[in-house]
Symmetry: C2
Subunit: 320 residues, 2 copies
């Protein structure tokens, strides 16, 4: 939950005047999202989301993210559509920082995802993968093996302050993953961060996928691995195979999961668990005084990682 940048009224009015969206009637900071400042902007015509990009997003990546949303929205993926200003540009400047306005999506994210939610998610993810196939721009996944290596090194000295033995367990897992990381899987544009708070539902119907600011090019099945971790464990970190089965079946109804992808899934799931373990651990060890965001518990992802270490095949995820 975060609003890092305060915007002056006159500045905001001038910014909005560059679009053809009417007069501002309200603008409220939203207490969601940890990377950027988000505002619910209302005009006399409609509701929008105004995002000011903060330092954790590289400005050079923004054309990729905004272009991807444009591309997906044009292909009926329910995602925010960037608005273009009168001069045609979607990426603009507000309060000295990069900023954009996107359409407002109705729906609420599921605080307690059900198996039915997981099924809808799987189908939407597959549709997103298919819709992204002809997106021309590319962006490397900077939170894959090379990125993990940097995080392993930088968290190592103090990892054991979080849990004795953690540094060693992470180092060992990283060596395993480095040796066994799947190559040559079908790839394309992935979301890479499709947690429940990035997926909206209206009743039981999936109404939106948001927050494409980790999107990149990588193995499509890695997105499934991220979702297995984020959607299919209960509060006590027990794996819910029913939810996993529904997620994977929902996906397969739209895009087939190849034998190579099935075989790779346990390694991809370990990698995804390590990725969130490492970034959470880094944030935990580097808490900023006066930070507006409470860091998330890294050990939830250690528990997931240990689960996947004992998985011998995709059958454990409900795939047959």
């Amino acid at each position: 939950m975060a609003v890092y940048t305060e915007v002056d009224d006159d500045e905001l009015a001038a910014f909005v005047a560059d679009y053809d969206i009417g007069e501002i009637t309200a603008c409220k900071g939203i207490a969601e999202g940890v990377e950027n400042s988000n505002f619910l902007l209302q005009t006399d015509r409609d509701s929008f989301i105004l995002t000011i990009y903060e330092k954790r997003v590289r400005p050079a990546d923004l054309p990729f993210f905004l272009g991807l949303m444009d591309h997906l929205a044009a292909r009926a993926v329910p995602c925010p559509t960037p608005l273009h200003g009168r001069d045609g540009a979607a990426l603009r400047t507000l309060a000295g920082k990069p900023a954009a306005i996107v359409t407002f999506l109705q729906g609420v994210w599921p605080k307690r995802p059900t198996a039915q939610h997981c099924g809808s998610l799987g189908a939407a993810l597959a549709r997103m993968h298919l819709a992204g196939a002809d997106f021309a721009a590319t962006r490397a996944n900077d939170l894959s093996v090379d990125g993990w290596r940097r995080l392993v090194v930088s968290t190592e000295p103090r990892a054991d302050t979080v849990m004795p033995g953690l540094a060693r367990e992470i180092a060992s897992e990283f060596r395993d993953l480095e040796r066994n990381w799947p190559n040559g899987l079908p790839s394309g544009v992935i979301h890479a961060d499709l947690f429940p708070d990035n997926v909206f539902f209206l009743g039981e119907t999936l109404s939106g996928l948001i927050d494409f600011y980790f999107a990149c090019n990588d193995a499509l099945a890695y997105d499934l691995a991220v979702c297995l971790n984020a959607w299919c464990f209960e509060g006590n970190v027990e794996f819910n195979i029913t939810k996993a089965r529904r997620l994977l079946r929902g996906y397969r109804e739209v895009r087939e999961i190849g034998a190579d992808e099935m075989a790779a899934l346990p390694w991809l799931a370990r990698g995804a668990a390590l990725r969130f373990l490492l970034t959470r651990l880094f944030d935990w060890l580097n808490q900023v005084d006066g930070a507006l965001v409470k860091p998330k518990d890294p050990l939830e992802y250690l528990a997931r990682l240990r689960f996947h270490q004992h998985v011998r095949g995709a059958g454990a995820y409900g795939l047959d």
Copy 2:
């Protein structure tokens, strides 16, 4: 900026079903307000504000606050109107805590208040005072002299860690105020916390007064003193007499300021400055690990206090 309570979807849907306001289409935590959790709730009919009352608000005071908003809204004061559930109750329970839904007010609060804003504020404050005259319930101001005494005592041991000599300066000011605090002024319901972020404007027109959770019965002119402190100092803590004059003139166009109130204004302004100095100092000294709100600088109010100490009459505020 704060959302302290996460609400489960089913629980939220059941809560909203107790009102006649349609189906939920979105619900976003708002990064504003430091006392309670606020959500912008949208249904297929309209926008609303959902507030969950957190521990800093005494549940016993809630009927006063909600009743006051009902009362003022019925008298055309532009303030949130509490919605009543199908059973007639405005104060309900959500996630185990007291909660209410109020109407959504259009407008944005002025990040850089102008003299014109101050004039509109003065008039709106006076209208609120007149409209509150026949409100039957009462609530003592627990942040007046007795409340300050408790804060003086509890901040004294560590006040000098913020600024050397602060404890002594506060103690001396408190003794002066205790001896000279004005009595017998015209009183009634006051807002007591009418900072710029609690006042909305649509263009140049004042469109809303919000956040009545410090409202109480006290000298009406004390509200003017709070506003003089909150609206009429520049970023460098220099007093802007033009803004003060507009504020007081705007007020007088609606309700006369008596000679006794004029004479008392410098003491009231010192008291208001001490009140916010003390509460900010207390919050500064008692920061909670993982808090979602950055404490505000108490010394901004020390500077205001020192200004008022040198004021010899209401003329210094532009009153003639």
